[in-house]
């Protein structure tokens, strides 16, 4: 087979544009170092002409948020018969919505914190203070408030007192019409990446995330220093295997392809609880999938090339 050419899609108009551009640059660099021909393209008016002109063997969407992860860009790629890396549109849509993904994963027998899904309109109908009081009483504190869609911890607040809930709701709704409120668990924060190099999904070593100060928010994620990472995570073989199984279960139950990253909290009882799934996980200097890959002994360029060739073979 001749050398595959890759068009990396990065940028887009989502709130995570900046992260996407950084991910795109890193992946493009790694793929080039592995000898592949790579172009990087934004999602804009020129994309479709560029696809027909460049005729890449495969497109790697490294778009975070909005059309990049909700399946719509993948719909277009399907439509024009363009092979691409990552989940198909249907699976992307399911994974992109936190409440739907949690429900699907929960049905597969994987533990996930209790939560409620709250469209903004509900509060108007039922009255904000009554709804929030009832949630705090039933789910208990602390809670995490998140936009129902989106990543990079944008709009996410950990709420320790009921009085902080309204602010957290406002901040989450700034990112979209629907928010979820989830029980906040204490335990070990883990991110487990899954890759499929053509022979079925394989979990990479879990990466343990230990915020040194403050929450694991946007700043903590993308500026080195505020978080300590352990890759592989400090787990016994037994626990590591259970955590890996959860990630594989999430990947499979959501019908994902090629790569994904599952965020898990290992709760105080040692149960891995599903928190979130990323179908286009971050690939920046500080991102978790690259750290896991390196912990597994992969050279990034080689791994990414293997993902590409695996995806082309499938």
């Amino acid at each position: 087979m001749s050398r595959p050419s890759v068009l990396v899609l990065a940028g887009g108009l989502s709130h995570e544009r900046d992260v996407s551009l950084r991910s795109g640059r890193r992946v493009a660099e790694a793929l080039r170092s592995a000898g592949l021909e790579v172009t990087v393209h934004d999602v804009d008016n020129d994309l479709l002409p560029a696809l027909s002109q460049v005729k890449p063997s495969i497109v790697w969407p490294l778009l975070h948020g909005a059309s990049g992860e909700d399946g719509s860009v993948r719909d277009i790629l399907e439509l024009v018969g363009q092979p691409y890396v990552g989940a198909d549109p249907r699976a992307s849509r399911v994974a992109w919505s936190k409440p739907i993904a949690k429900t699907v994963v929960g049905r597969a027998g994987i533990a996930t914190p209790r939560f409620v899904t709250l469209p903004q309109s509900l509060f108007r109908e039922l009255g904000a203070s009554l709804v929030l009081e009832s949630i705090a009483a039933n789910l208990g504190l602390p809670l995490v408030v998140k936009p129902a869609r989106g990543g990079s911890a944008l709009g996410v607040t950990v709420v320790r007192e009921a009085s902080a809930l309204p602010r957290a709701m406002v901040d989450a709704y700034a990112y979209g019409e629907t928010a979820i409120i989830e029980q906040a668990l204490t335990g070990t924060e883990l991110a487990v990446s899954v890759v499929d190099l053509g022979d079925g999904p394989v979990a990479l070593p879990a990466v343990e995330v230990v915020p040194r100060e403050g929450p694991y928010d946007y700043d903590a994620r993308y500026v080195p220093g505020r978080v300590e990472y352990f890759a592989p995570a400090r787990l016994t073989a037994d626990v590591a295997a259970r955590v890996a199984d959860v990630a594989l279960g999430v990947h499979t139950s959501l019908g994902l392809r090629h790569l994904s990253r599952t965020d898990v909290i290992l709760d105080d009882d040692g149960v891995p609880q599903f928190i979130d799934i990323n179908t286009a996980p971050g690939m920046t200097e500080t991102s978790l999938l690259p750290q896991a890959a390196q912990a597994a002994g992969y050279e990034l360029g080689e791994l990414y090339r293997a993902i590409v060739t695996g995806a082309l073979r499938a």
Binding site: G11, L13, S14, H15, E16, R17, D18, V19, D44, Q120, F123, R124, A128, S152, L154, G155, T157, A164, R167, M169, V170, D171, A174, Y175, G176, G200, V202, A203, P205, E208, V210, R212, G214, Y218, D219, V223, P224, G225, R226, V227, E228, Y229, F230, A231, P232, A233, R234, L235, T236, A237, A240, A241, A244, D245, L248, E285, T286, A295, A296, G297
Partner: protein, 446 residues
Amino acid sequence: MTSYQTPASDASSPVPTPAAGTRLDPWIGAYADRTHGMRASEIRALFAVANRPEVVSLAGGMPYLEGLPLDALAETARDVIAQRGTVAMQYGSGQGDQTLREQILEVMRLEGIEAHPDDVVVTTGSQQALDLVTRLFINPGDVVLAEAPSYVGALGVFRAYQADVQHAPLDEHGLIPEAFEESLVRLTGEGRRVKLLYVVPNFHNPAGVTLSLERRPRILEIARRYGVLVLEDNPYGLLGFEGEPLPALRSMDEDGVIYLGSFSKTFAPGYRVGWAVAPHAVREKLVIASESAILCPSNASQLAISTYLATHDWRGQIKNYRELYRERRDAMVSSLAEHLPDATWTVPDGGFYTWVRLPEGLDAQAMLPRAVTARVAYVPGTAFYADGSGADHMRLSFCFPTPERIREGVRRLAGVIAGERELVEIFGTVPEAEDRVVDSPGPDLA
């Protein structure tokens, strides 16, 4: 099924090698104290979208350069290298090119400043002058008094030198002398040393207001009485839409004012040329500090600007800018009146910005993600305060987008505000998060 794989060191053991943690920055323990305050925030990430053409950016402070005679400027740049290349490409004087310094006097004369070429120090944009002055005067904990609000880029410099920035309020006539004096009384009463008053007297960034002629000598008199050096930052002074420029503070007090000027707004920011005019002793130290920072400002940039000033109708260019920006100001103000009747805003007589106060209970920083979704961007007011206040304000720039785009941007903003207002109606006015990061946007937005 367990597909957990550990191709790491010891393949015989299923237990991964216990790992030492990494913070991905091996130098994390080595940074200076002043570095710890530097953070990335969601806000900064959101600005990444503002540069896309789909987004109407009312955030950036970028001058509109398409009106520049670019062909002629290309010739100028070519001539500088072709005819004076061995000078242009060489190191130069730490204080700056002599001819350019003489020409700068001519520019400053338009605002009543009489000085000697020796009083002028050319810098890499006036931002560098700001940095140098702060470096010369500010020990950690020293107080800098700034207007409330104040230029975000200055606050960044003051923070980097660990100054304690205190704000004194302004109104539609600029810094309020009584409030300025009250701040001094309070701070000196607390035993604090106030070293600098930082003031943008003309077409303020972000407030859009101008310090009135009547207040200028009063501010200087108070500063003198309390032994406070005035740092006058004046990038926009020649961009007034009506009448003649007001006399600079420096024109009224040679000994108590350090004046900062810039070609970034009256010509273009690309060459990065600004300047400082300072009392004799201060100027000597500025030159030494500048030499240690950058050796000398770029000769190529200075010669290009000097040639531009000598051979082009730079006054005509400034006049063009004024007309262009006045039309955009008008578009901004009329759109605000049409679409945001419940907000209030300043009507600037020049410069780039209007300062909008949102309807009761709205928070410009919390609202920014919604605005980005609606494809419009602005800078939240919090960026312009050292203490995290200003959430109820936003800065809107009218310098870069066309009048049509400005109108479209304000129309989008109205939708965003309506959406946010609905939230406030549902949840009531909610207090700000305590740990909010007060952030500055990138240079193309400052």
